[in-house]
């Protein structure tokens, strides 16, 4: 590896995203990306007794389907790196128990998929494994009742709120050359806090983190936004994306039509989802389905994925702390 600037690492050895798989809920299948999502489930509980168990079944099924479909031998997987947004990372922990692969749990809220990919990529580049499994996921009903209100309460949603994506994305990173997209650089984020206090306003809390990491990456690599076919943030939503654009403009970085936000594009616009999707499963599923597909087809050749995570807890919020956020960046080439 080669360190560029303060936060960016360039891989010297091959790190390929050999396989990807994703599963989503019913609502995501009514959105514009439905044709890219292959597997889904209708009942919010997935036949389980709780939303938390449904999330777990969704993640396990996603990984098992990827393993089965691609005839991967589970004993060939050196490590599993993953995270989710339920307390104590329980979805990923319980799935790791089922898989029996040596496991590293990571947490950066909705940036967990890019943190997993960054850690796994660095370990492969450093020679610590030929095959590393990564994953992230979220479930609307499980997340909503943990972070905000009981579903039965039926609260009115703020105009600037987002809707947690029910979805899981997983991938197998591989240290051998293959005909798949390659991870070439990663940029590790710093935690930033612009003083947002409102738990419903995730986009505003996370936009500064995405801007901070993208600006650091552009500086470290001496590149401009025009050098990339696609720059995708994870789950800023419509409002957060606008703030992100504004913050970049203030630094004279004009981001154009090559910019998308996974949260903004995953749902059809409605009063229910307001600013769009959020959650660790948002960037994980949109990347694993839509972006990965386009990279494979070489429709996109150089992609930056910046998932963003809000790092508060309900306790810090109740105690009056503002919401810190982080964004880790992954650069991929077709």
């Amino acid at each position: 590896m080669k360190k560029l600037g303060n936060q960016t690492y360039e891989f010297q050895n091959p790190v390929y995203i050999k396989h990807c798989h994703t599963m989503v809920g019913q609502k995501e299948m009514t959105g514009p990306l439905a044709k890219y999502f292959k597997d889904y489930f209708i009942d919010d509980t997935f036949g389980e007794k709780s939303f938390e168990k449904a999330e777990r079944k969704m993640l396990l099924t996603t990984i098992q389907d990827m393993i089965k479909k691609n005839q991967i031998h589970i004993e060939d997987i050196d490590l599993y790196v993953g995270g989710d947004i339920l307390n104590q990372l329980v979805t990923t922990n319980f799935v790791a128990e089922n898989l029996q692969i040596p496991f590293l749990g990571v947490y950066s809220a909705c940036s967990s998929i890019t943190e997993s990919m960054a850690v796994a990529g660095m370990l492969i580049d450093g020679g610590f494994g030929k095959n590393i499994l990564c994953s992230a996921c979220s479930h609307f009903s499980a997340a909503e009742r943990q972070y905000r209100f009981p579903l039965e309460f039926g609260n009115q949603r703020q105009a600037y709120s987002q809707w947690t994506v029910t979805g899981a994305g997983c991938m197998l990173l591989c240290g051998e050359r293959c005909d798949s997209p390659r991870i070439t650089r990663v940029c590790i984020g710093k935690v930033v806090d612009y003083g947002v206090l409102d738990l419903a306003n995730m986009g505003a809390a996370m936009a500064p983190a995405a801007a901070n990491t993208l600006l650091a990456f552009l500086k470290d690599t001496n590149t401009s936004v025009d050098n990339y076919d696609l720059i995708a943030t994870g789950d800023l939503g419509k409002l957060g994306s606008d703030i992100f654009r504004d913050m970049l403009e203030q630094e004279n970085v004009m981001i154009g039509n090559n910019y998308i936000d996974c949260g903004h594009m995953v749902f059809s616009a409605s009063e229910e989802v307001m600013q769009g999707g959020s959650g660790a499963g948002c960037s994980a599923s949109v990347f694993s389905a839509y972006i990965y597909h386009k990279l494979k087809q070489k429709k996109f050749k150089k992609v930056l994925l910046l998932a963003t995570g809000a790092l508060m807890s309900t306790t810090t919020n109740q105690q009056g702390d503002s919401i810190p956020a982080i964004s880790h960046l992954i650069m991929m080439e077709a």
Copy 2:
């Protein structure tokens, strides 16, 4: 690096624990390790408005003291890898915001210190940094009310329960040779679940994870327990340590006087602490103070540290799930 067996990695490049620092609460200063703990605070709130903010101040102070005392330039620290046991990793996240070092949050409950050291060590061995900061911490009052009961409830403690350590440990891992203990091997744990359902019985839930990882490591490295001056588990407590010994004996591994448990030794025996200490700060502070000191003095020459983490949440517990656990192992040489 060189992979040994299925779970163990041997570093080929220097990875040294250049500096360590620790801070504990008042109760820890009345225990047998008091002379190794240099910094402590008396008031449980550390002058803050909540226990959670006190935990944060404790971790930040510990890291800042290490930086100041050893004249470390913060800009020379490439990465910060750390975790804690509060929901959403808030203690470490907020401290990372303060430090402004590129940050990777990790979670494996009370095994967070060895996960941090393993990830940081692998990244240094792989060339991803010369200096990486690691930390873990816990605070009795913050942990107790999050995981079990409000403190005001004054519940009776079970005979097999443990007492969360109020303490923080941090260290600077360094890729340049120096006169400090060296990390030579790490073993990444698998998640195991032996069906323990009782949130108060952490020792029984975590002992199988420690046994599982130690047996894997001994097999991978073709060594026996007699090859090490010290084998330390993180926070099994008295009961958990006995279960750990029993499980090893069943596999014909007879662990002798070279075995200690950080949780068992951190407090003086009392009805209050029952089986001893627990929490991410237990192994972090006992290692950073006592074990590191003895390694520096070359009283211990070859040490295995196996911190152990119970990976349930209160929700999984209330939904009837048993408690999965993990243990990551670090091998150090004086």
